[in-house]
Each structure stands twice: as structure tokens, then as C-alpha cells.
């Protein structure tokens, strides 16, 4: 190999690129979340029914459902500022999704949204979150396979928010914020999927 080629390789090897700050922040958070989930899993499961928590949970769920309903009525063109509770940015996909994948996604988002909104402070969140994360990953693989890279990216972007939900030391406020954000992201996706499904019906 010539000296020039060696020099070229050396220059290329030494060239480094910094990730955007929010990306590096996401990596730090991913480790914090993974550590929090691990701690939570090591802890023995709590048993018993707590009437106070149950009724607080019902109230929080009702308030969230009302808020999300208002969000729906207000329209889907923009994202209200108060929703931006974390640094994770979930992109809205513009691509069309194959019908079979769209049905799977709708089922996943509907079920997950209902389960997430039903969580309260006393719930054992980590098992539920892991089940949702596993489904999320299966659908992400399917989206990648079906040439729907934007959908795959949305599913990947949702994962860190889901993992944060499993953290042990969440305050009631943090839990409610994460529930709201996840429900919002899932609503955006469900609205997009429903619109696509309606367009498909009209064109056939």
C-alpha cells in the first residue's frame, strides 16, 4: 500500500463526529432506565389491594382520558407545548403502512394505551412495560422488513419513554406525565393509521 493510501486511511480513522447533544442525553437516559428496571425487577413484587391508590388511580385515569379526548377534539396538526415533558422526540411518519402491519400496529397501540392509562402508583409496572416493549420490538422488526423505516423509527423512539415508565422511583407527577406523553404519541399514530385506512377504503 502506498504512503498516500496509508495517510488517507489514517486521516479517515481519526475523523470523529459528535452526536447531537439530545442523542447523547438519550444514551445516558437509556442506561439510567435500564438500571432502574433492573432494580425494580430485583425487588419482590408487592401484594395486596390499596383502596386509596385504587381510587386515586381511577381519578388520574379519568383526568387523563378527558385530557386526551380534548386533545383529539382540538385537532391533530400540532403538538401542544405542555406535552413536551421529555427530551425524547418521536417523529410523525409520513409514509403509508402495509395493511397487515397497520392492523397489527393499531391493535398494539390501542391495547398498550389502555394498559398504560390504567397504571397507578401501586401497579407493578415493569412486567407490563417489558411485555409492551417486546411487542414494540417485534413490530419494529416487521416495519423494517416491510420497508416502513419511519414507522420503525417511531417504534424505536417510543421505547425509551416506555422504559422510563418502568423506573421504580417515579413520582405520581412523573408517572402521569409519562402516561400522558405515551398516550399522546399512540393517539397520533392511531389517528394516522385510521386516516390511512379510511383513504384506502375510499380509493378502492
Amino acid at each position: 500500500m502506498t504512503k498516500n493510501t496509508d495517510e488517507m486511511i489514517a486521516v479517515l480513522r481519526d475523523e470523529t463526529y459528535s452526536p447531537p447533544p439530545h442523542v447523547r442525553a438519550r444514551w445516558h437516559e437509556a442506561i439510567d432506565e435500564a438500571a432502574a428496571i433492573e432494580q425494580h425487577r430485583k425487588r419482590p413484587a408487592r401484594r395486596g389491594w390499596h383502596p386509596a391508590s385504587f381510587f386515586i388511580g381511577i381519578a388520574v385515569t379519568a383526568a387523563l382520558a378527558l385530557g386526551i379526548g380534548i386533545g383529539f377534539i382540538m385537532g391533530d396538526t400540532g403538538r401542544p407545548d405542555e406535552q413536551a415533558t421529555t427530551v425524547v422526540v418521536v417523529p410523525v411518519p409520513q409514509e403509508d403502512v402495509p395493511a397487515a402491519l397497520a392492523r397489527g400496529l393499531q391493535l398494539h397501540f390501542r391495547d398498550s394505551r389502555a394498559q398504560i392509562l390504567a397504571l397507578d402508583e401501586s401497579s407493578d409496572r415493569s412486567d407490563l412495560v417489558w411485555r409492551i416493549v417486546e411487542d414494540n420490538r417485534i413490530l419494529e422488526s416487521a416495519a423494517t422488513r416491510d420497508q416502513a423505516p419511519q414507522i420503525a423509527r417511531v417504534l424505536r423512539a417510543i421505547e425509551p419513554i416506555l422504559l422510563r415508565l418502568a423506573a421504580e422511583n417515579l413520582s405520581d407527577g412523573e408517572l402521569a406525565d409519562l402516561q400522558t406523553q405515551l398516550a399522546f404519541e399512540m393517539n397520533v399514530m392511531l389517528t394516522k393509521l385510521a386516516r390511512q385506512s379510511s383513504d384506502d377504503t375510499q380509493t378502492t
Binding site: L12, E15, A30, I31
Partner: protein, 178 residues
């Protein structure tokens, strides 16, 4: 390396945060040179970090944590690229000179700022990946061949073509500067 790591204790959360601050530019750069896609590169590093965290009990203390994560990140980048662009690695089996990257890829190349790095855009995916793995990541041809399920001869051919194209790119660059 912290005292705990020297003593054979798995790396801690603080160790991970420390190496992210110190070395994540390197991981991201390696993944970006492989994928030429900032989103895939960022996802590859995240996948690698979570994978390393989950397997940290297997971490050998004769190695460095950052180089261990680096290797996992490169593998994660290859896996994501394999999923995102199916058929990329099949080009090795045809063993013929492939064309340059498409317009979409060239658009992404603005992320790689130097002219020399931009020259990587003259290469096909498989030529670029074989070149990056062989010369920048120091993989052996045998390891690359195993990764892609092919033989060493085809990998060496792809690397040879990559070097030839890069040299031609450098000559063009030098002529333009005169």
C-alpha cells in the same frame, strides 16, 4: 478504569456514564462511517449500550469497557443496516464492481464533512463497509467474511476496489486544488 472494574466487579452505571462522555464520539463516528445515516448510527450506539449493560457480567476485565462497547456498536450498526437495507450484503456474493451510492445516500453524506470522508460516498455500501471494517476498525478479512457469510477472497476484492476508488477520488481532489 475504576478500582471496582479492576477488582472484577461488573462495570457500574457510573462507569457507563463516564465512557459515554469520553468515548461516544468514537462509537458514533464508527457507526456513521458504516451506515452513513445519523439516525441509524445513533440507534446503533443506543442498542450497543443497552446490550452491553445487560451483558456486563460477561465483560472481561482484561479489555477496556469503551473498546468492548465500540465493538458491540459496530455489530449493532451492521445489524441495523442489514434490516434497513436488505440485500446490501448480498452484493458480496456477486463479486462484481458495483455502482456509486444513490442520490438519497449522497444527501445524507453532508453529515460527513471532510472531502476525504465524503469520498467514501464514491463507494457502494458493501465496498465502504468492507473498507471501514478492514482499515478503520482493524477487522481481519476472515472476520468480515464470517460476518457476511462469504469467503475472504471476496472481501479482499471489495476492499481492493474501495481503495482504488478512494485513490482515484484523492487524485481528483488534488487536481482540483492545483
Amino acid at each position: 478504569m475504576t478500582e471496582a472494574m479492576k477488582a472484577g466487579v461488573p462495570p457500574s452505571k457510573a462507569d457507563f456514564h463516564r465512557v459515554i462522555e469520553a468515548r461516544s464520539d468514537r462509537w458514533y463516528s464508527a457507526c456513521l462511517k458504516i451506515t452513513r445515516d445519523p439516525d441509524l448510527a445513533a440507534d446503533a450506539v443506543q442498542d450497543a449500550l443497552l446490550s452491553a449493560w445487560n451483558k456486563r457480567d460477561q465483560f472481561r476485565h482484561t479489555a477496556r469497557l469503551d473498546t468492548w462497547i465500540h465493538r458491540i456498536a459496530v455489530n449493532a450498526a451492521l445489524n441495523l443496516l442489514r434490516k434497513a437495507r436488505p440485500g446490501t450484503f448480498e452484493a458480496l456474493e456477486t463479486d462484481v464492481e458495483s455502482g456509486e451510492s444513490g442520490p438519497e445516500q449522497r444527501l445524507r453524506d453532508h453529515e460527513l464533512q471532510s472531502e476525504l470522508a465524503a469520498n467514501l460516498g464514491r463507494l457502494s455500501d458493501i465496498e465502504r463497509i468492507c473498507f471501514v471494517l478492514k482499515h478503520l476498525e482493524q477487522w481481519r478479512a476472515r472476520e468480515i467474511a464470517e460476518e457476511f457469510g462469504t469467503n475472504e477472497g471476496r472481501v479482499k476484492q471489495a476492499v481492493f476496489r474501495a481503495v482504488r476508488k478512494l485513490q482515484a477520488g484523492m487524485r481528483d481532489l488534488q487536481r482540483a486544488q492545483v
